[in-house]
């Protein structure tokens, strides 16, 4: 698709009236598939830690103020991937540009929240909990979402956090426990390479106890399903083959793990991965370019893989960061903590295109962008339109959902 046709495409989708079709499927077929899998929808969250520089991610290449305030860091138009007049992706975000062209990426601009906090931890906590520090935060928005979604009852975790770092506050819940797994290694019963051992363990745990001890019965059924899930996983990993080449980096590996887990038939509905390093106070260009390449290439590979695995109608992927960065660059070829920034939603069921305007660069507040879309409006879309749950109790307030997901109405 040329830049010209990409612009046309964006215009048509932004109008919101076009019936969107993907992969040659008719809307009615999509609808049937969607109905069937509605309860098995999946959200993948990528947390960009450190505060992603939104202005050098979705770049106002045509804006004079941008060039003036960023004499060292401004990215030239001819070194970027055009999205629309005056707006372009960083050249390292080829993956996102391709996804946008393929109609699988929504860019939500100017996302933030009132009275922005510029501490990493505090701002991250606000994004995770939808609450301020003085509000006695005890749980996170995803934790509250998981409490609303029925337990699949097969012993699979309702959500999984992949990675080494501490569990996201977003998953905190008084009822639901989310496991963190470092790798597939951990989701594998050691010793089962030995057939005799594997068979013995499976039989030992499958046998119903019929005991009066409810706890024992609970542990028995959980163990039995854990072992079958890991077996399912390892057999699907064995049968897992993909012509998709993931980039050789941490995020690529984690997303490939997510793809394997999804294809293994786990009933897990939320996956959470993290990409760290966005706190680019100095020497930003190379570091930022590397991170964006990692992000774009990994997400693109993941969605291609999900397509091939035939789960694309079930999967939506969301990227966020705790804040954007200051409009004006600092003296160390870097940028300091700022406020509003873009969020991304990707997947086959996502309405593609640009949502919202880039906040004005001349009407700043303390040197930072003014947000026009609250992050909870994006969460509201996920909760209501993707998971069909009630958003208000989860978000602790009423927020109008951004219209991010394709509706299945026959037209």
């Amino acid at each position: 698709m040329s830049h010209f046709s990409r612009r046309n495409f964006l215009r048509s989708s932004a109008a919101g009236s076009a019936v969107l079709t993907f992969g040659g499927l008719a809307p009615s077929a999509l609808q049937a598939a969607a109905e069937q899998s509605k309860s098995e929808r999946i959200l993948v969250v990528i947390e960009l830690q450190g505060g992603n520089d939104g202005l050098n991610t979705v770049i106002p290449v045509g804006d004079e103020t941008y060039r003036k305030l960023r004499s060292k860091l401004a990215i030239a138009k001819n070194d970027s991937l055009e999205i629309s007049d005056g707006l372009a992706f960083h050249s390292s975000l080829r993956g996102f540009a391709d996804l946008l062209e393929a109609g699988r990426l929504a860019v939500i601009q100017g996302v933030g929240y009132p009275d922005p906090n510029r501490s990493h931890f505090e701002s991250m906590d606000i994004w995770h909990t939808c609450q301020r520090k003085d509000e006695n935060r005890t749980d996170g928005w995803l934790g509250r979402l998981l409490e609303q979604t029925p337990d699949a009852g097969v012993g699979d975790p309702s959500a999984l956090h992949l990675g080494h770092d501490k569990q996201p506050f977003a998953f905190m819940s008084r009822k639901v426990r989310v496991p963190s797994i470092r790798s597939l290694e951990q989701f594998h019963l050691q010793g089962t390479e030995d057939a005799q051992f594997r068979q013995a363990v499976q039989e030992l745990t499958d046998a119903r106890r019929g005991d009066s001890n409810d706890l024992l019965n609970f542990v028995q059924s959980s163990t039995s399903s854990a072992i079958s899930a890991s077996e399912r996983l390892s057999s699907s990993v064995k049968s897992y083959s993909s012509s998709v080449t993931y980039p050789q980096n941490g995020l690529g590996e984690q997303l490939q793990t997510v793809a394997k887990l999804i294809s293994s038939g786990l009933k897990t509905s939320v996956y959470y991965v993290t990409l760290n390093g966005f706190d680019t106070h100095s020497q930003q260009p190379d570091a930022h370019a590397g991170l964006l390449r990692q992000l774009g290439d990994s997400v693109k590979a993941f969605l291609e893989d999900i397509d091939q695995l035939k789960h694309s109608d079930r999967v939506a992927l969301m990227c966020f960061s705790e804040f954007g960065r200051r409009v004006e660059e600092n003296a160390s070829a870097g940028t300091d903590h700022g406020t509003a920034g873009p969020m991304f939603m990707a997947g086959a069921m996502v309405k593609p295109g640009l949502f919202g305007e880039l906040p004005s660069l001349s009407n700043l507040q303390d040197g930072d962008l003014r947000h026009h879309t609250d992050f909870r409006q994006v969460y509201a879309a996920v909760i209501q339109n993707w998971f069909q749950c009630e958003a208000e109790p989860i978000l602790k307030g009423q927020y109008n959902a951004v219209d991010l997901f394709a509706t299945m109405d026959k037209q």
Binding site: G191, V219, S222, A229
Partner: protein
Amino acid sequence: MNMHAAACARNHRLNVILDPDWAWSEFQSTPETTWNIRTAAHLFRRAGFGATQHELTVAVAKTPAAVVDELLTGPELETFQLEMKSLSHAALATGNVKQLSAWWVYRMLSTPMQLLEKTTLFWHGHFATSAEKVADGRLMLTQNELLRAFAFGDFSKLLLAISRDPAMLVYLDSVTNRKSHPNENYAREIMELFCLGEGNYSETDIRELARCFTGWEIRRDEFRFNRYQHDEGEKTILAQTGNFGGEDGVRIVLAQDAAPEFIASKLVRYFVMDEPSPTAALIAPLAKELRNSGMLIQPVLRRIFTSNLFYSPHAVGRKVRSPVELAVGLLRSLEGSTNTFDLAEEMLTLGQGLLYPPSVKGWDGGRTWINSSTLLGRSNLVRTLITNDKTRFGKTTLKQYLATQKVTNPRMVIDYLETVLFAVPIPEAAKAQVEALMKSGNDGSLIEGLHALCTIPEFQLG
């Protein structure tokens, strides 16, 4: 044993309401429940982490009450305490708080006073504070020593001390507390999580209690009272009115009937059974004892561990092992030692990082320990532990250790492990299967057998 007690004991399988008088009366043998090596193992698993075959044999020759008294009074020898102190300081010197977690694992593995350590862990979960946020090993160690010093003691004193504990106040964002902006965080948690439980106070009580704590602050890692920041005005908390300070606030909260009920109920869930939640009627005698003793913990623990309920089928095998209980129990029961830094990390992965509780609410325990990922992780932890080249059993290999115990064939190994490790019997069919697995005869067969046994559902119960 009177007729009534016999009826209660017999009816345990029916879902009858437990008679509190019977429950907390001194343990009387019944045809089903006698003081033997299995009940002794139950006592050590709950009032500690586990005991070796030898320790169990010695215990069976005494009365349960005598064994409980030993568990409650120890003492720890001074040489042991000095060694632990010096090791904790060495851990601090590394600057890595995780070394302090490893130190605590080591203390659990080597202490002669298991119940003191188990109760310290109870208070750590109760007054949950995470090094993830506090990020200062010295403050974490100070709090850990505080919890241990007061573990069996006067809860009123512990509560007041923890209300001034730097690690706690850092964790709850309460290091400053100015009269113009009273911080409600600690006031809320002391009522909701530390003393009374939800529903036993109002939002107004929280705001008023927060005013009592104004002027309480942490400076240079120490508690101090800043009288210039204290709100001298009149407050009304839980229907009492006066110009209260923080000490008054703690005293008023603790004077509520809900306080001993809340603490006794948590002790029962931690030491006796995960489910069902104890009823108010069942808790009442313990709460009364706690109040009458001036909130001393030790007499209540003695009552619990010498009770009919504790040795009954309502309690035996009615708890899910926590990761700490699982790993430390496995090692202690077989005189094991290992790389405690790695073990502390594994426990963190399984959801119970020492000094790293998941939230101010601590660990919920019970069924929440269990999901696909943790079950596989628990099984893998056992294999990692027994195959780790730093792991020793009785200072030697597992095979040689079992030989010193005169355990020489697969069937004997299974029976031996069942005695020291299992709270509920291993089904006969499972024993036969594991025996077959171990008869393959190669060097790894003992590991395969032990690993298989520790993967079956029965092993998850404590």
